[in-house]
């Protein structure tokens, strides 16, 4: 099984395999988007609850929620940066 995959891969140029693997890696890096999605949804839901309880302090709640959501977004953005580097500034292609 393993040798058949290797012999299949060996008929291609090495650079092609690196390019294909980089594209797959960029797709895998964007899985990091799940985390911020859940986190920001949680922050938004809690903010909606808080506004429901205290409608008069809506401005402060929205401000705090935006800060929290922005901080939660960071790991997703790092995933995006990794994907961008793999696609547009790939160090593996030399």
């Amino acid at each position: 099984m393993e040798s058949s995959i290797l012999s299949f891969l060996s008929q291609f140029d090495g650079l092609t395999i690196v390019k294909a693997a980089s594209a797959i890696g960029a797709g895998l890096a964007m899985i990091a988007g799940i985390g911020p999605g859940i986190g920001q949804g949680f922050a938004g839901g809690k903010a909606a609850e808080a506004v429901g309880m205290r409608p008069d302090s809506q401005g402060d709640i929205i401000k705090t929620m935006l800060i929290g959501a922005a901080v939660a977004e960071t790991c997703g953005i790092f995933g995006l940066i990794v994907a961008l580097i793999l696609l547009f500034a790939n160090p593996l292609l030399g």
Partner: protein, 223 residues
Amino acid sequence: MNGPEIYCTIFGFELTETIVNTWIIMAIAFVIFYLLTRNLKAEGRPGKAQIIGETIVTTMDNLVGSTMGKDKMRFGAYMLSLMMFLVFCNVSGFIGLRAPTADLNVTFTLAIMTFCMIHFNSIRSVGLKHYAKEYIEPLPFLLPINILEQFTLPLSMGFRLFGNMTGGVIIMGLVYAGLTEMMFLGLVIPVPLHFYFDGFVAALQSFVFTMLTMVFVAKGIDQ
């Protein structure tokens, strides 16, 4: 998808699309703020432009006062300048320019400015001894982690702004590349996307960057 285009090289200095777009945005911002702040009157009826200008300044001052505390109102001018620069840069996609903030050089410059502000103001307010003591708390062996934390802050701030704006630029580029064949749909489909990426995300990210700067500078001073 390419990075900012390099127009020419003068003595090893690359004149990129980012720099030229920043000049255009600076010119637009200069004209707008000149029109808003001309003929200021302290007495009598103020003009419409003065009311708009005063509203912007008062809103930002209130935000600084409620976020950083009333004793740090001196940062209001810097924060308003930062916010206005970011807003004008980020919404420049509406007039077909590539946003200057979709370039790591610009976002990291702003993030390093924030980093320097945090540490300079922190040392000036709490003194060098107390400032250095923060790094070995709660336990001395956490020193490397505390130092790492300080350097992750500008990194994440710069990457956050860059990532959001570049994501918008890339998606708009893909949409325009895919729409070249369609005549009428090509006129309709980009409009809501422009309002989302160049309007909503742009305003939100400028607000977030300014708010994080305010929060961290205030935290550094009050520690």
